[in-house]
Symmetry: C2
Subunit: 198 residues, 2 copies
């Protein structure tokens, strides 16, 4: 190898990021090496800072830089509505949409008999306790429309059946900008069942 | 944004890497956040270390962690053969092939009238001086087969015409494993001109 071993080590670590393979990690590191001052040093510093300061929110499981994430710390967010998501990425996607003003609960995955993921492995007991303690009016299950996601949604709905909160799930149908010709049969079926008066 | 500003800053810096856009940078940072201990902290450390220690080899322009790169510091590499490449990435590609046992000279780009890149902006004067001082037998122009690459190759061949070194360039033709059907006309033409007795 032409590169010294510490540069090769850096390439090896970069290659473990999603979306980067060995070849694109090499290209990324070369780019960093060319921009050592303006890009590489600030990136290393930002990464070290976040690696040290990031922690899971003790209430909702979102990732922040203090024990309470910015959303749980925001008194303007409605505590009566809890949106349940699988993952922090889903929480961020919901926030990008900018339409939900309640709070979140990140499960950290979905139930899976195959992979041995049980309710206690997710943050489901904490959700049940939180709904009871906060007296939430509504729990919105914003889980992925996959088999595992929907299994988990059913489990949570059952677990919450004793509480006062209403349990709902995201609407299903044709995505905005979607063309029928490109949609799968399941989506078209769901959209037909969810049809509304025009 | 659901992420605190320092995580957003990190995403913004990651998005400036080649091969990562805003969306994949977000995914990469989420992955890092999930693996803070095993991946994010070592990556930040490796990056900070390389950002501090990396420097351009004073002889050939390769990137190393000392004033002489591993190749220029290796007494077993033949000083009589100098392979001229545009970029460090090209040097690494040559080294991966593992067939060249001489030394390199990295130009740092190609001549370009449009972008105002002149011979003094590249490391061409250093190359001419080095060939004369080292008494190199052969200079191999391993420049990309693009218009700018070939213009630069012609310029260097002219600049070296007074020296004792023989100037050569990489062979052109059908790549190993290449199918004629998928090759462009220029490559097929070059391969026909470079035909050999079977």
């Amino acid at each position: 190898m032409a590169a010294p071993s510490d540069i090769e080590d850096l390439i090896g670590l970069m290659a473990r990021l999603p979306g980067l393979g060995p070849r694109s990690a090499r290209r990324a590191v070369l780019q960093l090496l060319k921009k050592r001052g303006p890009l590489m040093a600030p990136l290393a510093q930002a990464m070290a800072h976040v690696a040290l300061s990031a922690r899971d929110c003790t209430v909702c499981g979102n990732i922040g830089t203090s024990d309470l994430c910015p959303i749980c710390a925001d008194p303007k967010r409605d505590t009566g509505e809890i949106c349940v998501v699988e993952d922090v990425a889903d929480l961020w996607a919901m926030e990008r949409a900018g339409v939900f003003r309640g709070r979140y609960h990140v499960l950290g995955g979905t139930l899976s008999a195959l992979d041995g993921v049980r309710p206690e492995d997710l943050r489901i007991p904490q959700l049940v306790a939180r709904v009871r303690e906060d007296g939430a009016r509504e729990v919105i299950l914003a889980l992925n429309a996959t088999v595992d996601g929907q299994t988990t949604a059913h489990y949570i709905a059952d677990a919450l059946s004793g509480s006062a909160a209403q349990v709902s799930s995201l609407g299903q149908g044709v995505p905005i900008g979607g063309e029928l010709d490109y949609l799968d049969d399941g989506t078209i079926g769901a959209a037909l069942r969810a049809r509304r008066r025009f």
